[in-house]
């Protein structure tokens, strides 16, 4: 979520976070379950879809709060034993790190009993997927002649002349380069784990290096596409959907997109484990997920929720059956382990 937020939003979020701490500490005395999310428009959608209906249905108290993904806060809570949060939304790298460090309680999937209803990536050792977002190939359908169908087309400067936007960094970029080079989406991480694979990805990037305009914040790709700075770009699907709602004719190629999840976790040392399970179960149902996804274009982890959405909304979901064809999940374990090395290599490559 950090990356999806614009940099401009950070200060505002920090303020909100401050308020959230205040609410969270108040909640501790009342012994209500505290649910922490990233806030913003996603938090508002969660309020409508999960928090309010949960309180209404179960009669239990729930204190919502938000934070900015500060992993150190969770770590400090668990280490000092002063655990004020119960259920926390985290991004996948934090899930992997926190699970390894024992900051999150392992999920008892038998007890939760919803394993078969969710997409496979939502089922992990310490976290239950909350929603799916995707990094896709986006283009302005009004400007571009023809339809790019894959990353190979993205690399095809002759058929689609003009600048391209890619995220400044190794993550996503190297995967896309390999797919453009003909590696099938299912083999990408196997190839990238080898030295030859990394060299192959960078060699592929060399081909279009001078045509790339690198973006830093998630708000940049749709803006560049609209302004005509680039003809196509990698982008977070939520950003494109927001631009579409403003009436821009931006289009998404879902083939070979990379999707990632945010997760619900239960903090180690939480005293509200029973309520936490009940909440997570509630928030994973098809009907509540449909309400969430109709408020914000992040895909439900429960595929049955897609059916409850309008046709136009359903087509924007990363987990729509058609959109999942050729798409793969980001291998977070891989990036947690090799990220630093590859980012350094990317920066070295970018300067050459």
């Amino acid at each position: 979520m950090n990356m999806k937020n614009t940099l401009l939003n950070t200060r505002k979020t920090a303020l909100v976070t401050g308020l959230a701490i205040a609410t969270a500490s108040l909640a501790l005395s009342a012994q209500a379950m505290t649910v922490i999310s990233f806030g913003g428009s996603s938090g508002e959608a969660m309020q409508k879809a999960y928090y309010a209906p949960f309180v209404e249905k179960t009669g239990k108290t729930l204190t919502p709060g938000d934070y900015n993904g500060e992993f150190a806060r969770i770590r400090a809570m668990v280490e000092t034993g002063n655990v004020g949060w119960d259920v926390v939304e985290v991004e996948s790298p934090e899930l992997v790190r926190g699970c390894f460090e024992g900051l999150f309680q392992p999920i008892d999937w038998a007890k939760l009993g919803i394993e078969d209803q969710l997409i496979p990536e939502a089922v992990t050792e310490c976290g239950v997927g909350s929603f799916v977002w995707s990094t896709v190939l986006a283009y302005d359908a009004d400007r571009l002649e023809g339809t790019p169908l894959s990353w190979a087309d993205f690399w095809d400067i002759e058929t689609f002349p003009g600048k391209r936007g890619l995220r400044r960094g190794a993550k996503y970029t190297l995967e896309f380069a390999l797919m453009a080079d003909g590696v099938s989406s299912t083999d990408v991480y196997d190839v990238l784990a080898t030295e030859e694979g990394v060299a192959r990805a960078f060699a592929k990037l060399d081909e279009i290096k001078e045509h790339i305009q690198w973006w830093e914040a998630g708000a940049q790709p749709p803006q560049w596409l609209v302004a005509g700075d680039v003809v196509m770009s990698s982008s977070y699907n939520g950003r494109i959907a927001a631009a579409q709602e403003e009436g821009r004719n931006l289009a998404i190629t879902w083939n070979e997109s990379l999707y990632d999840l945010d997760y619900w976790t239960i903090i180690e040392g939480s005293t509200q484990v029973e309520d936490a399970y009940e909440f997570i179960r509630f928030a994973s149902q098809a009907d509540t997920q449909a309400v969430y996804s109709s408020n914000i274009p992040y895909g439900p982890v429960n595929p049955a929720a897609i059916g409850a959405l309008s046709e136009a909304q359903a087509k924007r979901m990363p987990t729509h059956a058609e959109n999942l064809i050729g798409a793969i999940a980001v291998n977070t374990d891989f990036w947690v382990d090799f990220g630093e090395e590859l980012e350094q290599r990317f920066n070295s490559w970018a300067t050459r």
């Binding site: 940099l7 401009l8 992993f71 770590r75 668990v78 280490e79 790190r97 390894f100 460090e101 024992g102 900051l103 600048k163 400044r168 960078f202 305009q213 690198w214 830093e216 914040a217 560049w224 302004a227 005509g228 700075d229 374990d333 947690v336 382990d337 090799f338 990220g339 630093e340 090395e341 980012e343 350094q344 290599r345 990317f346 920066n347 070295s348 490559w349 970018a350 300067t351």
Partner: protein, 418 residues
């Protein structure tokens, strides 16, 4: 007479100690007052500068993770010769301390540290912990080796050994694209990983360039401000200060809007027929210079203005009336008097520019990122604070060195003038 003198002397010397003590007391009181007055500032400096900076310097060599989480294993491993596999004692202590590390967050710390030695170490620890028994019927070395074959490789234990001492130079070396080879000698890292030497040079070049442009643009403007009548100069001053009061992010974003391919500048130039296709003015070095000069210019103008305001025009007039060419009068009489303003302005702009992060991140390309960008990356994204601290340390050293050189130069110039 002599006797009277002799008698009066002791009387004087009796009084003197009392006077001296009083003086001392008064002195002491004054000192205490002075200390009390500077104490808040001193304490503030301690808390806000000295402690955090020393903490940062320490972090760049800190290697205590393994030593704190696995004290016994670390101790034994430092004694190990590294040739054959370590002894059973090491295996057994390691198994025990690894299991204990799950509580209290120790595992996360050693996992992160060991991953710098080998990116697959964290996975190895997870896989090992998942099946590690509480007790063993055979030896711990056999148990561990049966859990994962990598525990029978000396390379795995050598990585642990490298992480065992209390301090390390790996971060400082890595921040200069260097590393220790297997024989312990310092060598350069592989060519496709080298980046930081270039980043440091780039940071100095950008900061220097921005300072120079600010000086060239700021000097005439400050001169104009100082010489115009007050009513006009006040209006001009507002124009200087207005951007100063606007958020840095807003100003940076505004430059993107102006300079992008479909932006105001490019469309105007194209409508006028001056260019055929849009110029690339942003997301490269040009954009970085535009935005940074704009943001830092007031920091150059204000010190220059305050110095110029105090310079009497009489000297320059005297020089001209004595037959000097107007330019010579300006260059030889006026400019030397502004030197302290120039010094303050350039050092202020340069030191601010050297730490810039958000502006180059938003309006620069991948080859325009400065040291702070990487510091932020290691601090926020990967939690590798050792690396962030090492880069910060070198940035600090570079700044201090430049400041010293500069200080010397300016002082010498002033000496010559005097």
């Amino acid at each position: 007479m002599t006797s009277a003198l002799a008698m009066s002397q002791p009387a004087i010397s009796e009084k003197v100690p009392g006077l001296k003590a009083q003086l001392r007391r008064a002195e002491r009181l004054r000192k205490l007052k002075a200390i009390a007055l500077v104490a808040p500032l001193a304490i503030f400096l301690m808390i806000a500068f000295v402690i955090p900076i020393s903490n940062m310097l320490w972090r760049s060599v800190d290697n205590s993770e393994v030593m704190q989480v696995m004290p016994e294993t670390a101790r034994l491993l430092t004694e190990w010769d590294g040739k054959d596999l370590p002894s059973e004692a090491v295996f057994s202590l390691f198994a025990q301390e690894l299991r204990d590390s799950r509580t209290g967050g120790g595992l996360g710390r050693i996992g992160r540290r060991l991953n710098y030695e080998d990116p697959t170490f964290r996975t190895l620890l997870t896989q090992t912990l998942r099946v590690l028994p509480a007790t063993t019927e055979t030896t711990w070395s056999e148990t561990l080796q049966s859990i994962h074959p990598r525990w029978s490789e000396t390379e795995t234990w050598l990585a642990l050994q490298r992480a065992a001492p209390a301090t390390t130079d790996r971060y400082l070396l890595a921040a200069l694209d260097l590393k220790r080879g297997s024989d312990g000698n310092i060598e350069r890292i592989e060519e496709n990983q080298r980046v930081y030497q270039q980043v440091f040079v780039r940071t100095l070049v950008i900061a220097g360039g921005v300072t120079l442009i600010c000086l060239l643009m700021g000097f005439p403007l400050a001169y104009l401000l100082a010489t115009l009548p007050t009513s006009q100069s006040n209006i001009l001053m507002i124009f200087v200060l207005l951007p100063f009061w606007t958020s840095l992010l807003v100003r940076t974003a505004a430059w993107i809007v102006l300079l992008q391919s479909g932006g105001l500048v490019n469309t105007t130039l194209m409508t006028l027929g001056l260019i055929e296709s849009p110029l690339q003015l942003v997301f490269n070095r040009i954009g970085v210079f535009f935005a940074m000069v704009h943001i830092l210019l007031p920091f150059m103008i204000l010190p220059l203005y305050s110095v110029m305001k105090g310079i009497s025009p009489v000297y320059q007039r005297a020089a001209t009336s004595l037959g000097a060419h107007p330019f010579a009068a300006f260059w030889q009489i006026y400019v030397p008097q502004t030197l302290s303003g120039v010094a303050a302005g350039t050092i202020l702009v340069f030191i601010m520019a050297i730490g810039y992060y958000i502006t180059p991140a938003l309006v620069g390309g991948p080859s325009d990122q400065m040291v702070s960008y990487f510091v932020a990356y290691y601090t926020n994204t990967t939690n590798n604070w050792g690396m962030a601290a090492a880069l910060g340390t070198f940035l600090l050293i570079a700044t201090l060195l430049l400041y010293l050189v500069y200080h010397k130069l300016v002082n010498q110039k002033q000496l010559i003038r005097n």
